[in-house]
Amino acid sequence: MNLKLNTRNINDLTALIDLEGEVDVYTAPQLKQQIIGLLDSGARHVTVNLEAVDYLDSTALGVLIGGLKRLRERDGTLDLICPNPRIKRIFEITGLDKIFDIYPSEKEAMAKLKAKEEA
């Protein structure tokens, strides 16, 4: 199974990446390129939607951590939407749930992001 990516630009500084499928050593480079592209175009807040992801490995975690670090360097954020307990568990057992803000729905993620932007 492959990975499908769809990026939605919420505004000039904010984008949401919807992922569907498997994010692994084969497909994670696509996500990395997408995040780098958003950084290059000036995005400061990126939310990655893992709702339709059914497999995620250490390569994907590495890409997300890399994106988070780069965005934080410019006072930005990289948040996750992850209602799937199986995928969320990977963040929990590795302790990465303390590094990322993980939301159960797009609605909650966008509400929190709006609050952050206004802060």
Binding site: M1, E22, D24, V25, Y26, Y55, D57, S58, T59, L61, G62, I65, L68, K69, R86, R89, I90, I93, T94, G95, L96, I99
Partner: protein
């Protein structure tokens, strides 16, 4: 039905390239499903084997040994699934201890951390052939 006391072995060889790691995951999913594991346990095994192959593919790429193969050997016996993932892509860097700051781990470190957390027994050794042998055991019940 094969007797529980006779070990059942499934062996698979894949090229050391990213696009084949999914094949290893699918195979181990089928093997693990032969045992009375829970859904979560089967998923843990799938991820652990995926990580073992991913670290091999990463080392193969860095050492320019992508023409080598990865062998995944799984053995079912008496409530125990033993999986051995062997490559010829050089030694694996030392396994980091479970870290307080996982964000500081690189992908190899995260992969090793996941394998350690997902199976009941996990060992890594360098092979005489210039590769790495990852051994993992998961008990059912």
């Amino acid at each position: 039905m094969a007797s529980e006391t006779v070990p059942s072995v499934v062996e698979l060889k894949i090229p050391s390239r990213p696009e084949f790691v999914g094949v290893a995951r699918l195979t181990i999913l089928g093997v693990a499903s032969r045992m009375p594991f829970s859904y979560d346990e089967v998923e843990d095994i799938r991820l652990a084997v995926g990580e073992a192959c991913t670290t091999a593919v990463g080392r193969a790429k860095r050492s320019n040994k992508m023409d080598t193969e990865i062998t995944i050997r799984s053995e079912i016996s008496d409530g125990k699934l033993t999986i051995k993932v062997e490559d010829r892509a050089g030694p694996m860097p030392e396994t980091p201890p479970v870290s307080d700051s996982p964000a500081e781990l690189d992908e190899q470190g995260l992969g090793a951390l996941l394998m350690e957390l997902l199976v009941d027994e996990f060992t890594v050794e360098a092979t005489p052939e210039g590769g790495t042998l990852v051994s993992m055991v998961k008990y059912s019940g």
